[in-house]
Amino acid sequence: MNRLSTRQATLVYSVTGIILIIFMIPIYLILASSLKPSADMFSRPPTVFFTPTLQHYVDLFTLRPFHWNIINSLIVTLGSTVFSVTIGALGAFALSRIRHPRINDAAFWILSMRMFPPIAVVVPYYIIFKSVGLLDTPLALIIVYSTANIPLTVWLMKGFFDEVPEALEEAAQVDGYGIVEIFYRITLPLAAPGLAVCAVFCFIFSWNEFLFALMLTGSSAQTATVAVMSFWSSDAVQWGRIMAGSFIILIPGVIFVLTCQKWLVKGLTLGSVK
């Protein structure tokens, strides 16, 4: 990469700095509010210096079963992510390798599943899950999230598989391997950055989802996002708990993205051909 001149560098860093500040303000507010004593919450002007307290966090886990909400969220999110990425990658491989004049139509049809407005299907889902007894179970949310995550994964992974030179698979064929081994020993490792991207998308979507979780779960399968919202009741809004819960919700996503980051490297196929 070319070295930047001083002026360019100043510009780049200023813009980066501004963007960073814009993104960090809400996070700062969440963190600050979650640590403020309730009395300081709405003082005007806002108190910048206050004695931080962990009371809201303690309340969250003692007065409420917030750890169970987190566990529900984790079950639903990891379940849907693993399932979607597995099924989606297999489907994408087929779409990428099958030569058929209508194959792109099939790909588009799968993507179109993603285009339903959620609000339009939430009632049918409710009725279906009620009749099969899945209401208020993590499995219901795993199914619902996967119907949204699989099309996305298929579409993204198809692009990554298209980039893996077919000659590599042919070489493995000649070397004595069957299609299954070729898929998981050659193609999939080379599309690993794609898997990471898909996993991040699926994770974030499932982790943050609110509407379906609100409608399809009651008490036992309630996820963290819905739980935080329940601190907002008609008689009182427990801002401190909402903020503490929100801050905790932020953490797993960040950890997951950072974990996946090392796979998000480009150029994994470098040097295979030519």
């Binding site: 004595g176 391997y177 030519k274």
Partner: protein, 359 residues
């Protein structure tokens, strides 16, 4: 090691036929080169032998067994791809191990095989590198090594040298020839480079538009081309062609055209009927400047002289007829001069003008 034979092999992509009934017999240990212009179906033919393309008609046999419907892994072949197709996430050693794994050898056998091939190809110091850390020539070598460790019955090469620079190409070409002598494995080698074909092949198969035009040793296809296509395709610069009419002269058969006429040697003349339209082919190397006392010298004008060091290519013109002479550089004439040339009588090739077949 094994023989390979193709009988009336046909391939079509949809309605588009690209290989039209190819017949080819390759003996055990033979080095066969498929040669032809771009798009003539060489790669497709090779891929059918490898099992990477379905065969739409005819039979392919390896060691006498029909293998049309066998998976590539059951054909005992190894292939070197044009772009090498090295597994980028594996080191050189892992690439070779991966190729050996289906053979279920012991660890010691695998190590011995890799060590043997690495020594033969000079890959020892590269074994722990990944393909991205190799030069083009090294990648090519690794690709060959990966094919060689498997000790296949048949080696398939698809333009393995086309991504190398000229100097490296010559060097690797010689190495391939040496390796073939050493290993004695049957080889099918695809190229559109006639120098590669001439230097490597026991047998050259010249293809055009999905048909085989001629099969023969390098000497045969050069000295006795079966038709005009082969005549002009083999040899560089290509053979000069003259459209002539045969006539009965006082001393034998004479070929004549508006540009010049030429008395044919008796045995060639005997093949022609008076009035027959023929195409005379003369390689540039069979055209030389006339010396005092040469009968039948042809006068031509010098248009361009290309100096190549040892030799020179001289573009000559008689009326509308243009042709090239390849002569020692020291004899090269000046531009725009009139010179007299003669054709080497042993280097005259006659083709029927209509069918293009050699007479």
């Amino acid at each position: 090691m094994a023989s390979v034979s193709l009988t009336n092999v046909v391939k079509a992509f949809g309605a588009f036929k690209v290989v039209h009934g190819v017949d080819l017999d390759i003996a055990d240990g033979e080095f066969v080169v498929l040669l032809g212009p771009s798009g003539c179906g060489k790669t497709t033919t090779l891929r059918m032998v490898a099992g990477l393309e379905d065969v739409n008609g005819g039979e392919i046999r390896i060691a006498g067994e029909v293998i049309n419907d066998r998976a590539p892994k059951d054909r005992k072949i190894a292939m070197v791809f044009q772009n090498y197709a090295l597994y980028p996430h594996m080191t050189v050693r892992q690439n070779m191990e991966f190729a050996l794994k289906p053979q279920r050898l012991s660890k010691a056998e695998v190590d011995a095989k890799i060590a043997g091939v690495a020594a033969m190809l000079g890959l020892d110091v590269l074994l722990h590198r990944k393909p991205a850390q190799l030069s083009g020539g090294q990648r090519q070598r690794v690709a060959m090594g990966r094919a060689m460790v498997r000790t296949p019955e048949v080696f398939l090469f698809d333009e393995p040298l086309s991504n190398l620079d000229a100097k490296l190409r010559t060097q690797v070409r010689m190495e391939i020839a040496k390796l073939h002598k050493q290993l004695g494995t049957t080889v099918i080698y695809v190229t559109h480079d006639q120098v590669e074909a001439m230097t490597l092949a026991d047998k050259i198969v010249i293809m055009k538009d999905g048909h085989i035009e001629q099969i023969g040793s390098p000497e045969e296809v050069f000295a006795r081309p079966k038709n005009l296509f082969v005549a002009t395709f083999i040899g560089s610069p290509s053979m000069n062609l003259f459209r002539m009419t045969a006539e009965r002269g006082d001393t034998g058969t004479v070929l004549s055209s508006p540009a010049f006429s030429l008395l044919l040697p008796v045995e060639l003349g005997a093949k022609l009927k008076p009035g027959q339209a023929v195409t005379l082919g003369v390689r540039p190397s069979d055209v030389r400047l006339a010396q005092a006392g040469d009968a039948d010298a042809i006068e031509a004008r010098v248009e361009v002289v290309e100096y190549l060091g040892v030799e020179a290519l001289v573009d000559l013109r008689i009326g509308t007829q243009e042709f090239i002479a390849q002569i020692p550089a020291s004899e090269r004439p000046a531009l725009d001069q009139a010179v007299k040339v003669v054709f080497n009588p042993a280097g005259l090739h006659l083709f029927d003008s209509e069918s293009g077949q050699a007479l």
